[in-house]
């Protein structure tokens, strides 16, 4: 029915709703008009009564007092006959309630009860009223009279009829106007509906035809934007689907989906078929448990149940799977459960990695690992032996060279003292050079011997008072060089766990260097202290001497490596190598910072374990 009347469309419903609203409003307006008319008519009747009753009193009063009933009757006949004020009958009752005169009524006619609410009685053709006869302040009796409502009823009927006619005309005009207006306003909806139909059918390339700039045109434009966005998203979805399908199909690992209910393979990729040696149809029809060994199946099922309950989001395990031909292969199985947005399980995602090669590689690696350790032990032993031989050789060379050097030095001294006059100046100069070189070579030999000893002597760590050790060495150095005044600052309370003999040798070198390289400054200063860095104790020896170029700091600790010429500062180039060797024997490390003519600072640490043992 609704469809046949065209009321299913928005246009029809708008039209119906507007018409209903208008009818209701007009009805209310009409009812209110009737109410106002009744109020006005009642007011009119009451106004008429305010005129009529005094007039009747003025007519009736004197005649009633005078007992002139004939005149009274004539007056009443005149009032009724002339239809003055719409009076249709009058009956005058004296104080005893007797009828004194009446007009417009048959004799002794029983009068209807007088009305008390004029408004409620306006529908009656005659208003039956009763008022006292009051004249000159005296109540002379009562007056019953009928007031015709014919004019009132006629006026009200006319007003009502005209009101209804106007209302009906307005409804018809509104209906027609709204029909035209509705068509004009909703014509763009048709195009919008066609556009939405095209989108619903997947034809995103047919935009809605937009005309004008009203809300519906704006809606059409938004619709087109939405269609474009949907089209782009659909294309993106397709690309993603292709991408993921390619990932699925071309993955280097085997991937399969297993249904939650029947637990059968839903889809599998090519790699999984390769790994398992199945045809696709064959695998999809097989029970998923067919690929597992009995020994693994229970564990897999337990993990799967945990996936179902949400206790785990995925599990990973190495299992042996049965290929189609019956042979076994090692595989890494990763299983997760895909759930929808409401958390309902959709299917299991099974990723199978062929672990056969890895298992073989692990086996070989284990084999090589065992052999490698043996090899390293052999090589280490060989290296240690070589080092010991080298150190022994170095020590032997140094030790054996000392005897001929002492001989050369001794005889060259005799030659210089006993044959001084025999030699000319050139000969004496050559001899002096020989002696200096021999002495230098002797110091080098001592130094090498000392360096060799560092590696050869035994290592015996103990707790030492580092501040006191530094203080003793500083005092010895000062005594050995009485001609110089150097300010030495030693941080008190420094403790250390180290071999005391080796640490003394290291400190002699470091303090000796500081003393030597600060020899050319006006106010030489040496500072020895320590600080904590990340739990490690760092000791340092700082001077304000010649310093060095940081670019060459790597050469500092090499044997025979020197950053200053021998004419500036004498030395063997072995001292810092010795210090480094000692620090390394303590498991620590040494490094230096410096700037030319700005002094140098040497830092070193000892092995933490050594400190722990000491504690």
């Amino acid at each position: 029915m609704m469809a046949r009347l065209g009321l299913r469309s928005l246009r029809g419903r708008l039209l119906l709703a507007s018409t209903v609203v208008e009818v209701v409003l007009l009805s209310l307006l009409l009812l209110n008009s009737v109410r106002l008319i009744n109020d006005a008519l009642r007011a009119s009747v009451e106004a008429a009564l305010l005129q009529t009753v005094p007039m009747l009193n003025a007519i009736i009063g004197p005649n009633l007092v005078q007992g002139d009933y004939a005149t009274l009757q004539d007056s009443l006949n005149e009032v009724v006959g002339s239809h003055t004020q719409g009076v249709v009958y009058v009956r005058v009752l004296d104080e005893q309630g007797r009828t004194a005169a009446q007009a417009g009524l048959p004799d002794h006619k029983q009068l209807p009860a007088p009305v008390t609410d004029i408004g409620a009685a306006l529908d009656q053709p005659v208003l039956h009223l009763q008022r006292p006869i009051s004249f000159a302040g005296q109540t002379l009796g009562s007056l019953r009279f009928g007031l015709s409502t014919e004019i009132i009823a006629s006026a009200r009927s006319s007003l009502l009829q005209q009101g209804i006619l106007i209302a009906m005309l307005e409804v018809v005009l509104t209906f027609a106007l709204l029909s035209v207006l509705g068509f004009w306003l909703t014509k763009n909806f048709s195009r919008l509906i066609a556009g939405s139909q095209a989108i619903a059918e997947g034809r995103y390339d047919q935009p809605v035809e937009v005309r004008g700039d009203d809300e519906i045109a704006q809606l059409g434009r938004n619709f087109n934007h939405m269609a474009e966005a949907v089209q782009q998203q659909m294309q993106a979805l397709r690309r993603n689907e292709m991408h993921y399908r390619a990932l699925f199909e071309q993955a280097a690992v085997g991937i399969g989906h297993i249904s939650v209910g029947e637990r059968r393979w839903i889809r599998v990729n090519h790699r999984l078929l390769e790994i398992l040696g199945y045809q696709e149809k064959q695998l999809l029809e097989a029970d998923y448990q067919a690929i597992f060994q009995n020994k693994d199946l229970a564990a897999v099922e337990r993990s799967r149940i945990k996936l179902d309950s949400g206790e785990r989001s995925m599990f990973e395990t190495d299992v042996q799977l049965s290929r189609a031909g019956g042979e076994l292969l090692w595989a890494r199985l990763t299983v997760s459960l895909l759930r929808d947005e409401l958390g309902h399980p959709q299917y299991y995602i099974v990723v199978v990695q062929d672990e056969s090669e890895r298992k073989r590689a692990e086996s070989e690696l284990d084999h090589y690992h065992v052999h490698l350790e043996d090899l390293v032990a052999q090589r280490t032993a060989a290296l240690a032996a070589a080092n010991r031989e080298l150190e022994a050789f170095s020590y032997s060379v140094s030790h054996d060279l000392k005897a001929p050097l002492r001989s050369i030095d001794g005889f060259s001294q005799i030659l210089a003292e006993d044959y001084q006059t025999v030699l000319d100046d050139t000969g004496r100069d050559y001899l002096a050079r020989i002696r200096r070189s021999v002495q230098h070579m002797g110091r080098l030999t001592d130094a090498l011997l000392s360096l060799a000893k560092v590696s050869r002597v035994g290592f015996n760590a103990e707790h030492i008072d580092f501040s006191e050790l530094v203080s003793n060495i500083a005092e010895e150095t000062q005594i050995a060089n009485p001609g110089r005044i150097v300010s030495i600052t030693i941080q008190p309370g420094m403790q250390m766990c180290a071999d005391p003999h080796l640490m003394r040798t290291a400190l002699q070198n470091l303090l000796g260097n500081a003393w030597k390289y600060s020899g050319k400054v006006q106010q030489p200063r040496i500072e020895v202290g320590c600080y904590q860095v990340e739990g490690n104790q760092v000791y340092f020896v700082r001077d304000n001497g010649a310093g060095f170029d940081s670019a060459h700091a790597g050469k500092l600790f090499g044997v025979f490596q020197r950053l200053h010429r021998a004419e500036e500062f004498e030395g063997t180039g072995i001292g810092l190598a010795t210090v480094q060797r000692i620090v390394q024997r303590h498991g620590g490390r040494i490094w230096a910072e410096g700037e030319p003519d700005q002094g140098a600072t040497f830092y070193f640490t000892t092995q933490p374990e050594i400190r722990a043992v000491a504690a």
């Binding site: 009063g61 004197p62 007092v65 005078q66 005149t71 104080e95 000159a136 005296q138």
Partner: protein, 280 residues
């Protein structure tokens, strides 16, 4: 045992329930002769009416008539239990219909002789030969004015041109816009006339004290009721309403003696002749 008829049962119930006597009693019908307009008569008589109703514990209704003849006619017809009327009519009703005088009202000066304000007349003798406007020839004003003029040497029938009017008002209004004329009216009527009318007139003289009204009781009235009425009337001047009534009107309540009414006996034939049309 005699059963009461059903129609007496409501009456019996009323008696047993002690309805006030005033509700059951018929009203006392007080007639007032039409010496003023009907409205003025009702206003004038209201204090007496209310006083009587209070003392007699009986409602009182006031009636009058369009003219003295019709008033006499109503009295004859028995429309009134007591009636207030001029003394010559009272004498007529007493003599002819056995009405009994109860009390009288005496005015200090009853009738006024009026002339236009700018009239040259300065005393009563100056109006000799002029028109004299009078109310009904049987009105007390006409009678008293004639009696008074005669004492001054003027015979109205001979020395004046008497014009009789239907009412006191008409007699006065006839003077407006006239010269060399006079009118006689009662003091009560003159005082109730509009101020602009009175401003055009001048009082040339007035009658002396006279019995202006007599209260008659109907011969059909029961003796007890008549006694009660007499008692009430005698108390009226001493009541608050009565004091105001008499003081503002310049009148007194007086007993009526036989000789007070006998002086009007000479008018009875004339009155009987004039009232003939109302007596049928």
């Amino acid at each position: 045992m005699v059963l009461l008829p059903y129609r007496f049962i409501p009456l019996l119930l009323c008696v047993l329930l002690g309805w006030p006597a005033a509700l059951l009693a018929q009203p006392l019908r007080l007639g007032v002769a039409p010496y003023l307009s009907t409205r003025s008569l009702l206003v004038e008589s209201a204090p007496l009416k209310d006083f009587l109703a209070d003392r007699l514990r009986q409602p009182v209704s006031i009636g009058t008539a369009a003219n003295p003849g019709k008033f006499v006619q109503r009295m004859i017809r028995g429309d009134f239990d007591v009636a207030l009327l001029p003394p010559h009519f009272a004498r007529y009703m007493q003599q002819t219909y056995q009405y009994q005088p109860v009390a009288g009202v005496r005015s200090d000066f009853y009738a006024l002789l009026l002339v236009p304000k700018d009239d040259p007349a300065r005393n009563v003798a100056d109006i000799k030969g002029q028109v004299l406007n009078l109310p009904h020839h049987l009105s007390l004003v006409a009678l008293e004015t004639g009696r008074w003029l005669r004492t001054l040497g003027l015979d109205p029938g001979r020395d004046l041109q008497q014009h009789f009017h239907s009412t006191d008002n008409n007699a006065v209004l006839a003077l407006i816009g006239q010269r060399k004329a006079a009118s006689a009216t009662s003091r009560a009527v003159f005082e109730r006339m509009p101020a602009e009318i009175r401003a055009q007139l001048r009082i040339l003289g007035s009658t002396s004290s006279a019995l202006s009204l007599v209260l008659l009781a109907s011969p059909r009235l029961a003796p007890q009721k008549l006694a009660a009425i007499r008692q009430a009337i005698s108390e009226f001047p001493f009541s608050e309403a009565g004091l105001e009534y008499f003081q503002t009107r310049g009148v007194n309540l007086v007993p009526v003696a036989e000789q007070d009414l006998q002086i009007y006996d000479e008018l009875l034939p004339l009155m009987r002749k004039d009232l003939r049309e109302f007596l049928s």
